[in-house]
Symmetry: C2
Subunit: 205 residues, 2 copies
């Protein structure tokens, strides 16, 4: 059996990553969602162990010290990180795992797991990004301006990614995301076992 | 508009490349089939300008001299090659072009056009390959043995390819081929124009 594909999904805040991932999980059975650990406080409706594992700073720093995280980063005064053991178990079982993390974290994951697929999700235009951030209605204008400033920075990092998906229509975006991930399984480097087998069989014919 | 994707399709003789390509063209509208030039004689049912451009050796060598071929090779005493102008026109128009050529040719094309997608098609096993070659009923056992010997050699070259597609069921194989080609369009390196545009827009917000 082929191992699962590890995908890192990044994209501007407001690109619709969260919604796309949720829909992907509903629509296709191939995936295991990795749940991040964070020290930020839960937003309304967020449940510990579902959206995030909510941790105290001290607990989180203990996880870092014990190398229990694939990657972690500090962002707006909070830690965010990916617990390692769950991800490795799921990949071994052939499940595809998606991590929603930003660029620094993405590059750290790629370093540790070189066959990670890095996918960047973007709205069709900067104007549309602003419209979505305002439309959400959950953030102050100050936070929105901060996010747009951050988007400018993030846009410089797109070249580090493998694939770019434009989130114009949600269902299309989800299907495209599914397709790029499933297509990874056709890569020659991910089929070493099959190739070795058919070579051997040909020698024995 | 994005340029079309140039794909080279290779695989063991008997893997079903020809049938798969024919079905792909029927099923999807994205493709332009490149027609090769060859000096081998037409098989029954083959039409000049449809399966191949059938050429005399002298004509073919003139095409080589005038650099009118993307690649060419000699195989079992005959020349096979890919006329350049048609391929370039189709890619510019946004059509995806597939070349069915063997490994040496594939590598030459990749050298000239570095963003060529190299796809290798294989039957699910060596035994199945032999069964298909015999089942065809168009070749002598001597030719079949030659093809199997050649398959052994070709198997050593699979690592040069990007993607591997196992042709077990024709329709599945065709859909997978379509998916790997269309997915190429999501590659970051093929979206430089869009990325430059959204960066600029973000700066201007």
């Amino acid at each position: 059996m082929q191992k699962g594909i590890l995908t890192v999904l990044s994209g501007f805040s407001g690109a619709g990553k969260g919604t796309a991932m949720k829909r992907l999980m509903e629509k296709y059975e191939d995936y295991a969602l990795s749940i991040s650990a964070t020290t930020r406080k839960p937003r309304e409706g967020e449940v510990d162990g579902r959206e995030y594992f909510f941790k105290e700073t001290e607990e989180f720093e203990k996880m870092i010290a014990q190398d229990e995280l694939i990657e972690y980063a500090r962002y707006v005064n909070h830690y965010y990180g990916t617990p390692r053991s769950y991800v490795e178990e799921q990949l071994e079982k052939g499940k595809d795992v998606i991590l929603e993390i930003e660029i620094q974290g993405a590059l750290k994951v790629k370093e540790k797991f070189p066959d990670t697929l890095l996918v960047f999700v973007t709205p069709p235009s900067a104007e549309e990004l602003r419209r979505r951030l305002i439309g959400r209605g959950t953030e102050t204008m100050e936070v929105i301006e901060e996010r747009l400033a951050r988007a400018k920075e993030e846009a410089r990092g797109i070249d580090c990614y493998d694939c770019l998906i434009i989130n114009d229509d949600l269902e299309t975006c989800v299907d495209e995301l599914h397709a790029v991930i499933q297509n990874e399984k056709k890569k020659v480097m991910r089929n070493a076992e099959f190739i070795a087998k058919i070579r051997e069989e040909l020698e024995e014919l």
